[in-house]
Amino acid sequence: MRRIAKLAANPVMIALVASLALAGCASKKNLNSAADLGLGAGAATPGSSQDFTVNVGDRIFFDTDSSSIRADAQQTLARQAQWLNKYGQYRIVVEGHADERGTREYNLALGARRAAATRDYLISKGVAANRLKTISYGKERPVAVCDDISCWSQNRRAVTTLSGAGS
């Protein structure tokens, strides 16, 4: 954890190191999304984070400028909740994202709203609230990088990321 060591060298930041450890791992997991790995369904060990990403689906999508959970997203979140309730060892960070067709600060707020709406839906399906955290990336972390509607719709998303208690 080179990054943590570096921050710890700065006295002002020492207090933040503990929380950074969790979040740092969570964002690493996100890099291993299904698309990145090119995995087919069923290739992952049941209960693994790959299983979650590939077989359950780690992300939902939103309409433009909306944080309402769509019907298709409700199905995905119901599957996520079922899986998360079965594998209780994971802590969960829900990332909220926006497409680029909004200004930066507004999109940070919109991503926060999407992450919170997703978290609340998971809680309503029985996932313990104390396992869940949220983070907004606004438009800072697009997965699709063309400049048209097909990309924007993929970037308006909430991604449920896992981190093990000890990882």
Binding site: T103, E105, Y106, L108, A109, R113, A116, V145
Partner: protein, 438 residues
Amino acid sequence: MKKLLSTLMMIGALATGMSAIATLPARALVEIDVNKGTIEPLPIAITDFDGAGLGTEISGIVTADLKRSGLFAPVDHGAFIEKITNPDAAPRFDDWKVINAQALVTGRVSQEPDGRIRAEYRLWDTFAGQQLSGEQFFANGANKRRIGHIIADAIYERLTGEKGYFDTRVVFIDESGAKNARKKRLAIMDQDGANVRYLSNGAAIVLTPRFSPNRQEITYMSYEGGQPQVYLLQLETGQRELVGKFPGMTFAPRFSPDGQKVIMSLMRDDGNSNIFAMDLRSRSTTRLTDSTAIDTSPSYSPDGSQVVFTSDRGGGSGRSQIYVMGADGSNPHRISFGDGVYSTPVWSPRGDLIAFTKQSGGQFQIGVMKTDGSGERILSTGFQQEGPTWAPNGRVLMFFRDSAGGPKLVTIDLTGRNEQQVPTANYASDPAWSPLLE
């Protein structure tokens, strides 16, 4: 697009004496009225300053600044007739009038025995046949570019009656790498793109840096602690600190005009965002909005009595609009009513206008409106552009425009006519203009 045109004002001149020190309060034959706008930029001859390479370098900085302002048209050196051999002596005004140089700048740069640079300039009104101003400056070698900017500001102020903005800096986000793995670094540079210095290493996402009124601190948002939060950075020492411990994300920070407070958004647990002000001395926070809406991008009026901000409280998903409230949160009222989505309001340092980003018809526009929302004018339209910041004289805006792979910084003046890209080595976004240096 509505264009403001200006005329060159021809008014009576008074004779002035020669002075190497003081700016002389003369009335000039040659002046630019920036309120009327300009039909033609003022032709000005800026000779190479005496003093070998350093003289030419500094007069080159003066030339570039004045040209980029759009208010001046530096005359090509090839047209010059008189070769200035003594910058202290009166030039042959006829030689400059005949090439239509309405103003003339001469100067000299030399090295003092103690190593400092000494720079002098004289500004001449060629048609009145007299000197308008003359000053000299001393600086250490590291500040040589600043001397050029200070002289350009002096000339700009003498001929327009407005403060200049060339001796200023810009904090911004340097962006490199692929769009889906963009490395973002906090950076600072002179307003013309020179002297770039990096203030973060790119390990964490950093966003929206803004200057304190004394230019010695910036506040910005960073993901370095996991939960994105607002930080303060002392530019001289590099010392960083968190602006308060909050349960949720803090973002969209700006200083109050007195530098005592940072105003920002705090995410609530339900995902909505409210506006808070934190007193930097007492560390006490004051909640200014309390709505189940997105309230963000707060910006104080220059007298500190009001705050303009973005909110979607008006209902209808995503219809963000611009609101103004008292600095204590009182009487919030909507001021943007045009056809579109408004955000990123920034109060002019002159107090007269609010700059904003507007999304309309699939385009992003940079515009200004009066503080009551009337008189909206769009200055620039593009596919993806946002985030205006004011030059300290309230005459020029800088913003960022995404095109061809990444964002670049762009300036535009209030006429909407003079648009210039700011040269940066990499992609650049989130610019914030400093107050004038001293």
